[in-house]
């Protein structure tokens, strides 16, 4: 089920009541586990089996790792876990993509081959929970973490519904220890958690779905050729939509966990105030970028083997990070572009090591970063390269045959919302939400909270799925 639904409201109310009943801690954890399975099964019940497979494989792999005496045996258990998880991901997420590309390759070689339609349904959230379970085995393999004491705690770590389908991608060391002792939210945690959920849902239901999505769709999903203004407006709209959608999900998830007494990590830190691309990745989808860094980039050699190897590792990490987002070459291009940005920035930093920008140059670098990030969003949003080039041409003012696409309403709403988002990110770039709330007047907090909730209700969202569910 999605957070922005009546079903979730009822579900969450039941979970809160159950979690606060005077029951033993083990019983309450079982309640949370069953509720999480219900949360997942509400999409497509049979796919719960995949969740169980992922859970059981990594549980036994970690047990095997601990018991193994020889390094080769430890290695084998780790490989088993990685193969099982990535195999599942490869089949369900990339099966059709691999078949299509294989057929295209044969066709290029002059061999006619038409694979049967794969028709594989992508289990929601599979990319997220396979990464969470893999991090468990890998942390045990790398001796960063001990295995969980019992299967219940481990299964709950994998399945805990706030992070299950779209993150933040939790590490076992972040969550499993929280299951050791009984937890209930304090009254203040509950209220602040509810306030966070309101903020997250406002981002999703009001900003992303009600205002920004339509503008992006009109530019990206129509066969009309956009001019300079429409191409930029559509792309900026998407930059806001994907932030509000995904950061909205993370904030709601963090709030939901807090209402139950659990802490989840930050996943976003005002990314559109980033200055530079490494700064961007320290602010955008933090739990994925750090996962890729720890389990892909560093094992590929990181920066320990000279510049060439570093650049290669960087590019490979970002290309695979792009592919993680979806089985389409446009996502690979998106990741590749980020890889090139990061490599170029690294080279520039080495070349101009002593350069310290003044305030104006700092702001200009920030805007340049945001503009270049927007170019990458074109590949992320466009369904194919043809559309991506059309929009990029539009952004460069090269579409001579373009006609206006967006009406004044869309241009104004995109301009106002994106302007507010970017300004807020810059104002908040060195702050936390908590620090700002701590210094605000209680009446102001109450008013903002009420207005956000009111806007959510009158926006009448239609329960659209979050964009990242498809990844």
């Amino acid at each position: 089920m999605v957070f922005n639904s009546l079903t979730f409201v009822v579900f969450f109310a039941c979970v809160l009541v159950l979690h606060n009943l005077p029951l033993g801690w083990t019983t309450r954890k079982i309640n949370l586990l069953l509720a999480s399975y219900l949360f997942y099964a509400a999409w497509n019940p049979p796919f719960v089996i995949l969740l169980w497979i992922s859970t059981v494989v990594d549980w036994y792999a970690a047990q095997g790792l601990v018991k193994a005496q020889r390094q080769s045996v430890r290695h084998a258990w780790m490989v088993l876990s990685v193969v099982a998880n990535l195999g599942m991901l490869a089949y369900f997420k990339y099966g059709g993509f691999l078949l299509d590309n294989f057929a295209a390759l044969l066709h290029a070689a002059g061999i006619a081959y038409q694979p049967a339609a794969a028709d594989i349904v992508l289990p929601v959230g599979i990319s997220f929970y396979t990464f969470a379970t893999m991090s468990y085995t890998l942390d045990v393999y790398l001796r960063r973490a001990k295995p969980a004491d019992n299967l219940l705690d481990y299964a709950l770590f994998v399945t805990f519904f706030p992070h299950l389908v779209a993150g933040p991608i939790m590490r076992p060391t972040e969550l499993v220890p929280q299951f050791a002792e009984p937890r209930r939210a304090s009254a203040d945690q509950l209220r602040f958690g509810l306030a966070l959920m309101t903020l997250g849902l406002f981002n999703k239901v009001v900003l992303a779905d009600s205002f920004l999505a339509a503008a992006a769709e009109k530019v990206y999903d129509s066969d009309k050729v956009p001019g300079l203004l429409d191409a930029w407006a559509g792309t900026l709209a998407f930059s806001g939509q994907i932030f509000c959608d995904f950061a909205g999900y993370s904030t709601t998830a963090i709030g939901a966990a807090l209402c139950l007494g659990f802490a989840m990590p930050d996943n976003f830190r005002f990314p559109y105030a980033a200055v530079g691309f490494s700064d961007f990745w320290r602010r955008w989808h933090i739990t994925l970028s750090s996962w890729l860094r720890d389990y892909l980039y560093i094992p590929l050699g990181g920066n320990r083997h000279g510049p060439r190897r570093t650049y290669a590792a960087l590019l490979a990490t970002m290309l695979l990070g792009g592919l993680w987002h979806g089985a389409n070459w446009t996502f690979v291009a998106w990741g590749g572009l980020h890889g090139v940005y990061l490599a170029a920035e690294r080279a520039a930093k080495a070349r101009f090591a002593d350069y310290r920008p003044g305030p104006l140059a700092f702001a200009a670098l920030g805007l340049l970063t945001y503009a270049l990030i927007n170019l990458t969003w074109v590949f992320f949003r466009a369904k194919d390269f043809g559309k991506a080039w059309t929009v990029l041409n539009g952004m460069a003012g090269l579409n001579a045959e373009a006609k206006p696409i967006l009406t004044t309403f869309y241009l104004v709403s995109v301009g106002v919302i994106i302007g507010c988002i970017v300004a807020t990110h810059w104002w908040m770039r060195a702050r936390t939400l908590e620090s700002v709330v701590a210094r605000a007047h209680p009446a102001a907090i109450a008013s903002v909270w009420a207005l956000l909730a009111f806007a959510i209700v009158i926006a009448q969202g239609s329960g659209n799925a979050f964009i990242y569910f498809q990844f």
Partner: protein, 405 residues
């Protein structure tokens, strides 16, 4: 446990840049600050504030705002009612696979949706049809689905609104996917919505949603881009999609004028319209598509009856001009071999009040339904069923009477 990897492996970061405005409340560390190590349990501090008072204040203000919003829309004429959504359509479509495969099914666009009154039909026929028509939506996609569904063995009344049917326009065509892919949580959510929110709040209607309301404000026109008026709320529905024209369209002259202004936009050519030859090609495609579907249904002994509900005023003039009967309706019946009822051929189907030229008032829709059912039962779907089950235009027992003015 110790990390096997040095924590100095910070690579995907840019530590050197100044961080303007850093203060005592600087961001806490995240995983991005701790490369290659086990991540600790996150910190999630609650800002020190009187949260009890804040929550109560927020709740009070929220209730006040919501009460004001509800009062505004009630004063506008809205009342709580069933929301006209694709999930509601899916509920009805599901009935066919849940034991009602022999039912009479209505498909078409808004005219069949608003003008055929299920209560009246049920009273006369002894059975309540399943309403699967959808506004602004060609019925052909839904018909294809029915033709492919082995559970369906009833009969179909297909509404023909020329500007929708012969262009293949499917504003709500996604309803079929909603039906096919609806998750258990979505179905439960629909049930919850119908039994709680929709029964309580008048503002809970897509026409009163925040973005919709803002969008229809008089924004300045962008040069080269005309902002078309969106269709406003026209109807009121019951849980089984029994639907009729909203009384506000009938009684509020200003609102009626707004709804007419929306239709007027269709009567003039738009620069974005496809060229005439493309329109003709599209028309032929839709007729061929219909013929194929009817052939499939006929093979399965499922009777199909086309109905052209009434329109009037400038709307009818536009339809006669852009979709001449001989090239559309007559061609459709000829190509499919299926029978049809055109309102212009039956005096008893004419004369109803059409406040915005396209849909009958509630009272006249009831009269129209009674007249329509009488014709259907008399000339096409006789009570004994079998004889007329495969009736075609060529073997229709009673030739339609001459067109009345």
């Amino acid at each position: 446990m110790p990390s096997s990897i040095s924590s100095s492996e910070a690579v995907l970061e840019l530590r050197d840049l100044p961080d303007a405005g850093e203060d005592a409340h600087a961001p806490r560390e995240t995983a991005s600050d701790r490369p290659g190590v086990a991540q600790p349990v996150p910190q999630r501090p609650v800002p020190p504030q009187p949260w009890n008072r804040i929550a109560l204040g927020a709740l009070a203000l929220f209730a006040l705002l919501l009460g004001g919003w509800e009062a505004y829309w009630r004063a506008f004429g809205a009342t709580p009612g069933t929301r006209n959504t694709e999930k509601l359509w899916a509920n009805q479509r599901r009935r066919i696979d849940a034991g009602e495969g022999g039912a009479t099914v209505l498909v078409g666009a808004s005219r069949v949706y608003f003008d055929v009154q299920l209560d009246v039909w049920q009273k006369l026929a002894g059975e309540r049809p399943i309403q699967l028509a959808f506004e602004g939506t060609s019925p052909l996609g839904f018909l294809e689905d029915l033709a492919a569904d082995p559970n369906f063995h009833g009969r179909v009344l297909v509404g023909v609104a020329p500007q929708v049917f012969f262009t293949g326009f499917a504003y709500r065509g996604h309803a079929l996917k909603t039906f096919q892919k609806e998750s258990p949580s979505q179905r439960f959510g629909q049930w919850l919505s119908m039994n709680t929110v929709e029964r309580t709040f008048a503002f809970y209607d897509p026409d009163f949603a925040l973005a919709t309301v803002l969008k229809r404000q008089p924004w300045p026109e962008r040069p080269g881009k005309h902002a078309f008026l969106d269709v406003r709320k026209l109807s009121v529905s019951e849980p089984d999609r029994a639907t009729h024209l909203w009384s506000k369209v009938e009684t509020d002259l200003d609102y009626r004028e707004v709804t007419r202004a929306v239709w007027r936009q269709e009567f003039v050519p738009d620069p974005d319209d496809p060229p005439p030859e493309k329109m003709l090609e599209k028309r032929r495609e839709q007729i061929a598509r219909a013929a194929k579907i009817v052939a499939t249904l006929r093979e399965r002994h499922i009777p199909v009856l086309f109905v052209r509900p009434p329109s009037g005023g400038p709307f009818l003039e536009y339809e006669d001009r852009a979709f001449p009967r001989a090239e559309t309706w007559d061609a459709l019946l000829a190509a499919t071999g299926a029978p049809g009822i055109h309102f212009q051929d039956y005096p008893e189907l004419q004369g109803g009040e059409l406040p915005e030229w396209s849909h009958l008032t509630h009272a006249d829709a009831e009269k129209f339904t009674a007249a329509l059912y009488t014709i259907v039962a008399r000339d096409f779907w006789k009570k004994d069923g079998a004889a007329a089950a495969t009736a075609t235009a060529t073997d229709t027992p009673a030739a339609p009477p001459p067109t009345a003015p």
